[in-house]
Symmetry: C2
Subunit: 80 residues, 2 copies
């Protein structure tokens, strides 16, 4: 069983109202010096394949088809 972590984040320049809302809330809670907050998603996937190369290839294909919207999001795959 190979475990991988996929991190999906918004591309630079794409507006992130949720991140902005968190940024404002942190300010209201009294945190000083918060520059910017951007929110993304993380998926922990475990795969029953024979090697890491196959796992990485399969997961990239999953990202393209389902996990990420590649028009506005970037993804990063990390075998853990």
């Amino acid at each position: 069983m190979i475990k991988a972590r996929v991190t999906v984040t918004l591309k630079n320049g794409v507006l992130d109202p949720q991140g902005k809302a968190i940024e404002n809330s942190l300010g209201s809670l009294g945190f000083k010096g918060v520059g910017s907050v951007r929110q993304g998603k993380v998926f922990d996937v475990s795969l029953d394949v024979k090697d890491e190369a196959t796992a990485k290839h399969d997961i990239e294909s999953m990202c393209e088809k389902l996990l990420a919207n590649t028009v506005i999001e970037d993804y990063q795959v990390e075998i853990v």
Copy 2:
């Protein structure tokens, strides 16, 4: 400006219907050998503080107060 990445994931044993739905969708899309999928959140925070220790301390405090629900979620802070 110190940049940090906060990863918030569900604790083991906490049900994750969203992850389960993704798991089923991957199966329907024809991906073989998908064991389990768990979904979490990631926050990229940039902070204007003087050193990494202060940044780490502040961000842990943000997690406890706002970013994570520590009853059901774990968080990990990484300075990048």
